[in-house]
Structures are given as structure tokens and as C-alpha cells.
């Protein structure tokens, strides 16, 4: 008699591991798919909405769902430099190059990652800033280093302090058991380019579904014109700026003339 529920549980577990993808589906959308940088841009926030779609194959879950949203910006290669005292003054000495790392990276989840899934799963899926792969150029090789490496720590600390890396364990909230919402904070310094949103749905410590979305940050209108001109028509841009300087200087001498 006491074997009944255990058998059902075992069957359920088999179903779960055999066909996890068919059980639930993640459907999500962003409040905007294009962030425009205008002269008044001081950073913004995007709202991510989503729902967990269940079908006939879905099994009842014991615990609630967990969502991990990873937002990553365009890749860039950065140099972290360490100052050292040389001849009494502080100068950049050692440096480490971080190759093709996300310029922006946000880890948003319903709970601290350690409570969502076991450590090996978190490591494999690169969930959490400490577990994200950050390739670095070391000698002729490109590889990530031990997690307590001072350059790696400094990199994460600086990125976090500029709000370019975000680690918010309680940012994703479930409004109903299947409807969730999260805000993606984008600071003024977020670089332009394409951003990817990767969503992972966990239940009972296992990844059961994935979803994704994308948005872009673009310079718009005047900002786009100026930045484009500076980059593509350097000579014309420089001449125009110099001319503007002369005009301003001349205007001042006319306006304030006193004789």
C-alpha cells in the first residue's frame, strides 16, 4: 500500500528526465526592442514579461518555478591595468587583457542561484557572475583563470561599480504561479549594439526550458549623426568643429564689443 505514491513519483521522474523540453515552454517579451540614445539619455530600464506555458504533457511540480535571465551586451576586449609604485609615483605596470567578454552582463533570477540548482548545473550553464567564463589572454593562450585571481576580481568589481555588470538574485518576480516579470537596468554607459536575453526555467533544481529575446541600443538622430560623422568623416568633422570655434569666438567679440 505504501508503494503507490513512490511508484507514481518514480514514473514522474522518468517522464521528467526523458522529455523535459516538451513539458513547459517559456514565452516572453520586452517592453521595447530598441533603446534610443538621444541627447537626454541617462540610462533606462527595460521590462521583461513572460509566462510559463504548460500543456497536457506537463507534470505537476512540487516546488515553484525559478527563472534565471541572463542579459549580455556586445562583446568587447578590455584591458585591466594595475598601478604599482615606480620611482615614487604610481604608474600602470601589470595588465591583463579580457578577450571578447560581454560589455554588459546582467544576471537576474528569482532566488540566489545557489538555491535554484546544484553547483555543477550552475557551473555548466554559467549562471552567476563568478561562474561566467571570462577568457583572458595569458601568454600565448586565451583562457579563464581561477576565480580568486586578483585581475578577474578587479574586472568584476569595476564592471559592477559602473553598473555594467548586474547581479540581482531577486529581480525576477512571479506575479502569478506562471506569469513573471523583471526589470533590466541599463546605465547611461551601456555600449551601443545588440543585447541578448537568455531565459532559463528551472523546477526542482533542473533546467526544464529555455527561451530568449533580444534588443538593441542605438544612437539616434542627432547623437547618431555626430558619432557617425566623427568616425567616418574625421576631417570634415574636425574642420566643422574648428569653424564652429572661430564663429563662437568672432560672435563673442562682436556681441561684447565696447567701442
Amino acid at each position: 500500500m505504501r508503494r503507490g505514491p513512490l511508484t507514481i513519483l518514480a514514473v514522474a521522474a522518468t517522464v521528467l528526465t526523458a522529455a523535459p523540453a516538451a513539458a513547459e515552454r517559456l514565452v516572453s517579451s520586452l517592453s521595447s526592442h530598441r533603446v534610443l540614445i538621444t541627447p537626454s539619455f541617462t540610462g533606462t530600464e527595460l521590462v521583461l514579461f513572460g509566462t510559463v506555458e504548460r500543456d497536457a504533457a506537463s507534470v505537476p511540480r512540487r516546488g515553484s518555478y525559478d527563472i534565471v535571465a541572463t542579459v549580455s551586451g556586445p562583446r568587447e576586449t578590455l584591458v585591466v591595468r594595475r598601478k604599482e609604485r615606480m620611482f615614487g609615483i604610481w604608474a600602470n605596470a601589470d595588465s591583463r587583457t579580457f578577450v571578447e567578454v560581454p560589455s554588459y552582463l546582467a544576471m537576474l533570477s528569482t532566488r540566489p542561484a545557489e538555491e535554484i540548482a546544484p553547483l555543477d548545473v550552475l557551473l555548466r550553464l554559467q549562471i552567476g557572475l563568478r561562474r561566467t567564463l571570462l577568457p583572458q589572454r595569458i601568454g600565448p593562450d586565451t583562457a579563464d583563470v581561477v576565480r580568486d585571481d586578483p585581475f578577474r576580481n578587479a574586472f568584476l568589481r569595476l564592471k559592477l561599480s559602473h553598473d555594467l555588470y548586474v547581479d540581482t538574485p531577486n529581480e525576477v518576480t512571479f506575479l502569478t504561479p506562471i506569469l513573471f516579470r523583471a526589470t533590466i537596468p541599463l546605465p547611461a554607459g551601456a555600449p551601443i549594439g545588440n543585447y541578448e536575453v537568455d531565459l532559463k526555467l528551472f523546477a526542482d533544481g533542473a533546467l526544464i526550458a529555455r527561451g530568449g529575446d533580444a534588443f538593441e541600443i542605438v544612437k539616434f538622430g542627432f547623437e547618431q549623426f555626430v558619432a557617425g560623422a566623427a568616425l567616418n568623416h574625421g576631417l570634415l568633422y574636425g574642420l566643422a568643429t574648428a569653424l564652429m570655434a572661430l564663429l563662437t569666438g568672432w560672435l563673442a567679440s562682436v556681441v561684447f564689443r565696447r567701442d
Binding site: 541617462t42 591595468r81 576631417l235 568633422y237 569666438g249 563673442a252
Partner: protein, 325 residues
């Protein structure tokens, strides 16, 4: 136009009323803060007859603008204020165009060399240190000399002796150099070699440090070339104008770092402040003005020295890898 529209989420960030996003520096700044900086530096530049770049560049760096963008952008700001000044001196016929032209031959070459070194150091990752070190060495030594000279002049005038800046007839070694030219307006007859050299030095340090160098050029012209004080500022402004306009164009072509929006706010503030500064300066005695300028130059130099010597708050810095130059 630039008023920030308060949105639901923005309350979480620092609320600053009037922000403008700089397209090249890639960060928002408070338009009034930048404008006020322009006016303040303009006031000082008008008062002393200098460009004020040595104050403006550090202030911009302090605001969070990268040193490279600050140096490149300030060059256009100085071009504006020195053009406004040069016109005023031109009306009074208080400038020597032929001397300025000779200085310019060296000045343009020096600017090009400076922009080249600037680009090279940027690729090496030592640009910030070079800018800081140049500020310490140059401003420290020049400021120190100016303060000493100013104090001596004031003591002399207290004792009732006249202040003599120009000692006619006293010759230095380079008066024996060839290619001598007569500059009528300045009433001097000197070799063109030191003139071109001074121009070169000014252009070179101007491009690297983001300063016009008026505070350096004026004493150089007075002490080395014996240019009379009535034409020296106007002439120095013409040189500053051309080297800084050239630097603006060259920085735009090579490094794409001139922020036109930042430049516009700065120059409008700068030329306005300069007018009031010039009026304030006319009411003060010459030697006292020079002493004040010396103290100011020295203070900025010391400020940089403190930063270099003091243990930094953060040993690490992060910077995007510059293009494969």
C-alpha cells in the same frame, strides 16, 4: 529641450535635473555644470590673457570624461577663446602678425608631432600617466618660477624701485644665430631659429596636454625674444588660435575624440566668461596678476603631483583595448 522626463524607474538613479548625453565622450553630463566651468575658466583666461586649457582639461577629467577626449575637445575650446581675444587685440593693433607667422611655422610642426605621440602613447596605455607627469613637471616648474618672480617684483615695487621686465641691449647666446629677421611691430631683430623652436615646443605640448600654453608662451616671448609686453598677449593668442584649431582637426582625423557638443557648451561659456575676466584684469596691477597666475599654475601642478604620489583608492583600472594601431 534637454529636460529629463521623469519615468517610473528613474527614481532609483541619482536625479540630476538637466543632463545632456555627449555623443563622443559617451556619458551624460549636467549642462549647467559644464557651462559654469566654461564661464569660470573663461573668466580666468580673460583676466590673465591665456587660453585656460591647463585648468579646463583637468576639470573635464575630474568630471569623468576620459583624458583623451578631454585633451582633444579642449583644443577647440581654446581656439574659440583665443580667436575672440585675438580679434580684440587686432582692433587695438596690439599684435605682431609677422612674428606670429614665424612662430606658426614651428607651431604647426609641433602640433602634428604632438598628435602623433598622443596616438602612439594611447596605444601603449601610458597616455594618462604622460598627461599627469607633463602637468606636474611643466606646471610645477613654470608655476614655481612665476611665483618667485612675482614675489620678487612685488617686493621691489614696495621698495619703490620700478619693475623692469625688458632690459634692452642685453643679448643672449642665440642672438648670434643666423637667419635674422626684423619684426617691426615688436621692434626686435632676432634669428628665426629660436622663434620657430618656441613655436614647435608650444604646438607639441599643446597637442599632448590639451593646453594652449599661453601662460608659458607669454613669458618665453618676453624673456627670450624680448617682445614688448604690449604686443605679446595678442601675438601669443594668434599662435594659440592656429595651433589649437590645427590640433582640433588632427585629433578628429586620427583619434575621432573631439566631442562637438561638449566643445560647444565649453566655448560659449568660455568666451562669455573671458569678457568679464578681461575687465577685471584691467583693474589689477601687472605684477600682482602675474603672481596670482603663478599661484594658480603651481596649484594645478601640485594637484597632479599629489595624485601621482598618493596611494590610489583603486589600484586597478579598466579600459577598452584601443584599435590595433
Amino acid at each position: 529641450m534637454f529636460l529629463e522626463v521623469g519615468s517610473e524607474g528613474s527614481s532609483r538613479r541619482r536625479m540630476t535635473p538637466v543632463q545632456v548625453y555627449l555623443p563622443i565622450a559617451d556619458l551624460p553630463v549636467n549642462i549647467f555644470v559644464v557651462f559654469a566651468m566654461g564661464i569660470a575658466v573663461g573668466f580666468i583666461s580673460g583676466m590673465f590673457g591665456i587660453g585656460g586649457g591647463f585648468l579646463m582639461t583637468p576639470l573635464l577629467i575630474f568630471l569623468g570624461i576620459s583624458p583623451a577626449v578631454a585633451v582633444a575637445t579642449v583644443s577647440s575650446h581654446i581656439a574659440a577663446s583665443s580667436f575672440s581675444g585675438a580679434i580684440t587685440y587686432w582692433r587695438r593693433k596690439a599684435l605682431d602678425l609677422s612674428l606670429a607667422a614665424m612662430l606658426l611655422i614651428g607651431g604647426i610642426g609641433g602640433t602634428a608631432a604632438g598628435v602623433w605621440l598622443f596616438t602612439y602613447l594611447r596605444a601603449l596605455g601610458q597616455l594618462d600617466l604622460t598627461i599627469s607627469l607633463s602637468y606636474v613637471l611643466l606646471l610645477g616648474s613654470v608655476g614655481g618660477l612665476m611665483v618667485m618672480e612675482g614675489v620678487r617684483a612685488i617686493i621691489r615695487s614696495r621698495h619703490g624701485k620700478p619693475v623692469e621686465l625688458r632690459r634692452p641691449g642685453s643679448h643672449t647666446w642665440f642672438h648670434g644665430l643666423p637667419f635674422k629677421l626684423r619684426f617691426k611691430q615688436s621692434r626686435i631683430y632676432v634669428s628665426s631659429i629660436p622663434v620657430v623652436m618656441i613655436g614647435f615646443i608650444m604646438g607639441f605640448i599643446g597637442a599632448i596636454m590639451g593646453i594652449g600654453g599661453g601662460f608659458l608662451l607669454v613669458p618665453m616671448l618676453i624673456y627670450f625674444l624680448r617682445v614688448p609686453t604690449n604686443v605679446v598677449i595678442g601675438t601669443s593668442m594668434v599662435l594659440t588660435l592656429v595651433t589649437m584649431a590645427t590640433a582640433t582637426v588632427l585629433h578628429s582625423v586620427t583619434n575621432h575624440l573631439v566631442d562637438v557638443i561638449l566643445a560647444l557648451i565649453l566655448m560659449v561659456g568660455g568666451v562669455t566668461g573671458a569678457q568679464f575676466g578681461a575687465r577685471a584684469g584691467q583693474k589689477m596691477r601687472g605684477e600682482r596678476l602675474r603672481l596670482m597666475l603663478g599661484v594658480l599654475v603651481l596649484a594645478v601642478g601640485l594637484r597632479f603631483a599629489v595624485d601621482l604620489v598618493m596611494t590610489p583608492d583603486d589600484f586597478y583600472s579598466i579600459r577598452q583595448l584601443e584599435g590595433a594601431q
